[in-house]
């Protein structure tokens, strides 16, 4: 399912002394099945942008198409859009409210008016997707779980809506390294197996670098860069000038080159760096 954004502008508090232009004439396309990493400094417009994609915020001007439906037109049924575009907020576990995990995940699909059996099936599948054992956990309170598990329940609640596009706003914030890796691994599988279009908002350049097909960098309400992780991370100075970093490995390559080497700079995983350094030490790259 594709997304097309054309000239999107969003102004908070228009006409007041607090007027803020959060998005300025943003135009972009996301193809069906892409895995996008959306990065930018706090206040760059990331969250404002994603809230437009399922109609939580209304554009001040400009249009958005989800597949061929223009969702910014008056009279569009937002319920249909929200079935297709699932949005996982920051700290989604704070939104859990039901007595049992099953009821919490079932809340969305039940409101779609689905039959009980269909709802149960969807809850089961959603829990399976986030690796929560259904039989063991369905009757437990979501508040008995650990932080990482609660977050998975919240994500399952969005997956049970069976969206075609999944948007996650910093899904790993405050998780420990193991919790982070588990959630990211599951998102990767959803993208690969279910062919979902995924937009991942993150501050971790390391995570973004190893997961996504394309990075979109936002700065002051506009799109500053868009490209593959390789293309984006080779522009360390530009990224740093807008308050972002590059993975440490990219820094290492740049530092080596300042010392007279000629190594590729568009590298960001330990694995790749190892291969390049081994080649370098064996004399394949000349100092």
């Amino acid at each position: 399912m594709s997304i097309k954004i054309d000239g999107l502008t969003h102004t908070y508090n228009p006409g007041s002394p607090f007027e803020t232009h959060a998005l300025k004439n943003v135009t972009m396309e996301i193809e069906s099945g892409e895995f996008i990493g959306l990065i930018g400094h706090t206040g760059s417009g990331k969250s404002t942008l994603i809230q437009h994609l399922n109609g939580l915020l209304k554009a001040t001007s400009g249009s958005i198409w989800i597949n061929s439906v223009e969702i910014t037109k008056p009279g569009v049924k937002l319920k249909d859009i929200r079935k297709k575009v699932g949005l996982v907020f920051q700290y989604p576990e704070y939104q859990l409210f039901e007595e049992t995990i099953e009821k919490d995940i079932a809340f969305g699909p039940t409101n779609l008016g689905l039959k009980e059996e269909e709802v149960r099936q969807r809850v089961k599948e959603a829990m399976e997707m986030v690796k929560l054992p259904y039989d063991e956990l369905k009757d437990r309170s979501p508040f008995d779980l650990s932080g990482g598990q609660r977050r998975r329940v919240a994500i399952a609640g969005v997956l049970a809506m069976q969206p075609d596009i999944l948007i996650l706003d910093e899904p790993t914030a405050s998780l420990d390294p193991r919790g982070r890796d588990e959630i990211l691994e599951q998102i990767k599988l959803l993208h690969q197996q279910k062919k979902m279009t995924v937009i991942l908002v993150s501050h971790s350049m390391e995570d973004i670098g190893r997961l996504v097909n394309r990075i979109i960098v936002m700065h002051q309400g506009t799109i500053a860069f868009s490209g593959t992780p390789r293309e984006i991370f080779s522009q360390a100075e530009e990224l740093e000038s807008i308050g972002l970093g590059v993975p440490q490995i990219s820094h290492l390559m740049k530092a080596m080159n300042r010392n007279g080497c000629q190594l590729p700079e568009d590298v960001f995983t330990v694995e790749e760096a190892k291969t390049i350094i081994m080649d370098y030490l064996r004399g394949k790259h000349h100092a």
Partner: protein, 284 residues
């Protein structure tokens, strides 16, 4: 000069009863001594007991058995409670949960006011504390209009206005973006180096641990490793088994060593890695 440790934790166990009536051991015979002026980082995954340990350090929790002393004060003595809390301040993860006033300077003044300090002295402390965290120009602003990193620095200023000897930071950067993280870490390092304040810092970001004096690793309520960052992070495989990260440069060094490259295992920073690689190249 008083040579006694800042905090001494001796054979501390902490048990509590869960909602479903099962007894959980959050701390299991922990021994740890934190020296004055030290910068100690504690790592470990969620549920390993890090925060429980931190809360023992200013008497927010008391040991089920064993003894915690803060500047020689036993945390079990209720008469010492306020003195302990003034000696060891705490900064938490979520800046929004620890700001109490509607104006920055009033928020910073809240602690000293409760200590019954003279108003002029309070104003002096507020000014000095805000200056320390580079937030003086925001003194008349409303905290909710500030960024996460700025709010967290206000929380730190509120703690230093109490003139503590030690500050315990419980994942202070977990909710911040990269520039907010940098602001908070810089403020923390400055307080440690220039003011001699003892810093205990709990984090999941291994890069933040690189500059500490010592790193302690917790697992299942026990301390499983304590040592300098170099000593601890060289144990790449053990840390990974515990579900923890190591700094990327240390991981790279470990991978290169597995290929037979003669590089020290305790490389922590990009600069060190560059130096070692350049030396290796010169030697062939």
């Amino acid at each position: 000069m008083n040579k006694s440790p800042m905090i001494s934790i001796t054979d501390v166990t902490y048990e509590y009863t869960n909602v479903d009536d099962t007894d959980l051991i959050a701390l299991d015979h922990v021994d740890l001594t934190i020296k004055k002026g030290e910068h100690l980082v504690i790592i470990g995954h969620n549920g390993s007991g890090k925060s429980t340990l931190a809360k023992q350090m200013n008497a927010l929790l008391l040991p089920s058995s064993g003894v915690v002393k803060v500047a020689d004060m036993d945390t079990r003595d209720p008469a010492l409670l306020w003195s302990i809390r003034q000696t060891a301040g705490m900064v938490f993860q979520n800046p929004d949960n620890q700001i109490v006033a509607t104006i920055v300077e009033e928020d910073v003044a809240f602690g000293p006011e409760n200590l019954g300090i003279e108003p002029t002295e309070i104003m002096n402390r507020v000014t000095a504390s805000l200056e320390r965290v580079d937030m003086l120009q925001y003194r008349h602003k409303a905290p909710h209009l500030l960024s996460g990193g700025q709010k967290q620095r206000i929380a730190i200023a509120g703690v230093i206005a109490m003139k503590p000897d030690c500050i315990i930071f419980d994942e202070p950067t977990a909710m911040l973006d990269p520039s907010g993280r940098k602001e908070v870490i810089n403020a923390m390092k400055l307080l440690n180096r220039e003011e001699g304040i003892t810093v205990v810092h709990i984090t999941h970001f291994m890069e933040e641990a690189v500059g500490a004096h010592r790193v302690a690793v917790m697992e299942d309520g026990r301390l499983v490793m304590v040592g300098t960052p170099r000593e601890v992070f060289t144990r790449v495989d053990e840390l990974k088994k515990l579900g923890l990260d190591v700094p990327q440069m240390t991981e790279l060094a470990s991978e290169l060593r597995k290929e037979g490259i003669d590089i020290p295992a305790d490389v922590l920073t990009v600069e060190e890695m560059v130096t070692h690689l350049c030396q290796l190249k010169l030697m062939d």
